[in-house]
């Protein structure tokens, strides 16, 4: 296997701005499985239906880490509905393209966001 990651992707990988954990997050999305790949934890804080804060913790390859960071950047400040509309293609394009074998790594970030939003929605209904 040989390919090259884009410079943009590498910038997110080397200097992720959104890595971290939110204590008392309104929603948490956990995806992946260590024995077969990348693991992602996504935390969101929601105010008036807007994602006001979002952070990630990712154990994985450069594609997974950079996709996590970029996704946080994209989702931050968006309404839940708008955030739900972020697609895999958006991520891949903004990462400067990804080799086919690495696509699933970026998909994971979208899944994590959907799970975090689902978690928030369920918790919110219970309130």
């Amino acid at each position: 296997m040989s390919f090259k990651y884009s410079d943009k992707l590498m910038r997110h990988f080397h200097n992720p701005k959104n890595a971290g954990k939110i204590d008392n997050a309104d929603g948490i999305g956990i995806v992946g499985n260590r024995s077969c790949g990348d693991v992602m934890h996504l935390y969101i804080t929601v105010k008036n239906n807007i994602i006001v804060d979002i952070k990630f913790k990712t154990l994985g390859c450069a594609a997974a880490i950079s996709a996590s960071d970029l996704l946080c950047e994209l989702a931050k400040g968006k309404t839940i509905d708008k955030a739900m509309k972020i697609t895999k293609q958006d991520l891949v394009e903004l990462l400067g393209g990804l080799p086919a074998p690495k696509l699933h790594c970026s998909l994971l970030a979208i899944d994590a966001l959907h799970k975090a939003i689902e978690d928030y929605t369920i918790k919110n209904q219970l309130k």
Binding site: M1, F13, C36, G37, F56, L59, G60, C61, I65
Partner: protein, 379 residues
């Protein structure tokens, strides 16, 4: 930026002396070694001189050395060459689960053609199960192909012991000695070797040149047809400059270089194991002088590789999340490493040019990189 190259199992920098030795054979001494005129004879002398140097290194005769395009071709020629030659006598070949793809994929190809292949187990510390070897040999067995030193975890098999087993059972023994050549002593007679594969670019020689040792009296089925070069066992105009460079590289590798690497390796391992959540893969004893394979908990190998690359340090991983699933390398699987530990495995391979300063710089960078990656990793 400081550059530290620790991927010498992948390939090595050509030694200056090697480049110098090769240069005339690109220009003034360009002859075809098969030609009778002085140009040809000059090239012929160079090839035969090189053949003798390589033969001497493994206690073989020059006529037992066939030059090839490298380790992969040597393995193909050895295994297919014997399989096709002896298929009338038997169809069973024994190899191990942690061979290089140039042996494993040849085996798989032969399986498709009706050969039966046994893949021997490997112990947790990286040694092939020799009891299983004894039990696996049958009347149908025509070849045992077991690697000398493993390219990922660096463990060195006792080829003399394997050779004795093969001799008792009267089967041919091939070893892939690409990683060990000139680093671990090989005596083809003591190890009862029938065939052995070598490659120049792992020892500061050029890429695309290697050799296969074939013991006198053993016939292999030719794989590249054409002219009658290489004792009519491998056609093609000799890669004279490559052959000269290969021999020079072999001559240059000295005992003191190996001792230097051994010392640095032990220091590197000792310091690495002081880190939290690290473990060494493969035995500490009977290990290549230049191999350090370490698993780091809670980080992904690829991320460590890329973060180190950013600091000018070149290393290697063996697992990659390329398919829908992160596949651990077949070597780490064979030694029974847990998948999550395989994913965090990094291979550092030294050369005689590696300094203690390089190792210290790497250790310091690693401390930073591992801490950073673990910091953004869940728990």
């Amino acid at each position: 930026m400081k550059k530290v190259y620790l991927d010498n199992a992948a390939t090595t920098k050509m030694a200056d002396e090697v480049v110098k030795a090769m240069n005339p054979y690109f220009s003034d001494k360009f002859g075809n070694a098969s030609c009778l005129h002085s140009f040809g004879q000059e090239a012929r002398d160079a090839v035969e001189n090189a053949r003798k140097i390589i033969a001497d290194k493994i206690n073989a005769e020059p006529e037992e050395i066939i030059f090839t395009s490298g380790g992969s071709e040597s393995n193909n020629l050895a295994i297919k060459g014997i399989a096709y030659e002896l298929k009338g006598r038997g169809n069973h070949i024994i190899t191990s689960k942690f061979e290089h793809p140039a042996v494993l994929n040849v085996s798989k190809e032969l399986e498709k053609q009706g050969f039966k292949i046994s893949y021997l187990n490997v112990s947790r510390d990286g040694f092939i199960d020799l009891e299983q070897l004894k039990q696996s040999i049958t009347k149908q067995t025509i070849l045992v192909s077991l690697m000398h030193a493993n390219n990922e975890i660096g463990t060195v098999q006792d080829i003399e012991k394997i050779g004795r087993i093969c001799k008792e059972q009267n089967v041919l023994f091939h070893t892939d000695a690409v990683q060990s050549f000139a680093k671990v002593g090989i005596d083809v007679k003591k190890a009862n070797l029938s065939l052995a594969s070598f490659s120049a670019h792992k020892l500061h020689g050029p890429k695309g040149i290697g050799a296969l040792y074939v013991k006198k009296g053993i016939t292999i089925k030719k794989q590249i047809h054409g002219g009658s070069q290489e004792f009519n066992q491998r056609a093609g105009t000799e890669n004279v400059s490559g052959i000269v460079g290969f021999a020079k590289a072999v001559e240059l590798m000295k005992e003191k270089d190996i001792e230097k690497m051994n010392t640095l390796r032990d220091y590197f391992i000792e310091e690495l194991l002081k880190f939290d959540g690290t473990s060494l893969n493969g035995s500490k004893e009977n290990r290549l002088c230049n191999n350090i394979s370490v698993s780091f908990k809670n980080v992904e190998g690829e991320s460590v590789l890329l973060a180190l690359d950013d600091k000018g340090i070149a290393v290697s991983t063996s697992s990659a999340c390329t398919s829908a699933k992160l596949e651990p390398s077949h070597v780490l699987k064979a030694i029974g490493l847990k998948p999550e530990d395989s994913h965090g495995t990094i291979r550092f391979t030294l050369s005689k040019y590696t300094s203690k300063d390089d190792v210290d710089y790497t250790l310091n960078s690693l401390k930073y990189v591992i801490k950073k990656l673990r910091g953004i990793s869940p728990e």
